[in-house]
Symmetry: C2
Subunit: 78 residues, 2 copies
Amino acid sequence: MAKAKVFVTLKEGILDPQGQTVENALKNLGYNNVSNLRIGKYITLDIEGDNTKKELEEMSHKLLANPIIEDYQIEIEG
Amino acid sequence: MAKAKVFVTLKEGILDPQGQTVENALKNLGYNNVSNLRIGKYITLDIEGDNTKKELEEMSHKLLANPIIEDYQIEIEG
């Protein structure tokens, strides 16, 4: 059994209103040194089998991310 | 200017209905080898200054995460 992480991020150029709102809230708290804040998804899961990398690519493309507007990055640990 | 990442995850024992739904959807697609799927937030930002680690801890505790039900982990790159 392997532990896997999938990071899903909005592609560059896609607006991130949630990130912008959080960045503005941080500035209102006095953190004016923050910029370019963006919010993605951090998905962790356990996966069994011998073909985990390929399957995780498929899952990410089909369901975990929207490949039109999002990129994903997969990490598999032992 | 440093690039920082903040990973926000639900604490162990806190139910994750969104993660459960995605796990069920993967199983419906035939990926029965997946378990324990959980969805957190992956926040990226740029930050200036000399006190970034401490400030990111404060931001995470005050705003980025809800410390009652969520943990966070901070990574700062160069």
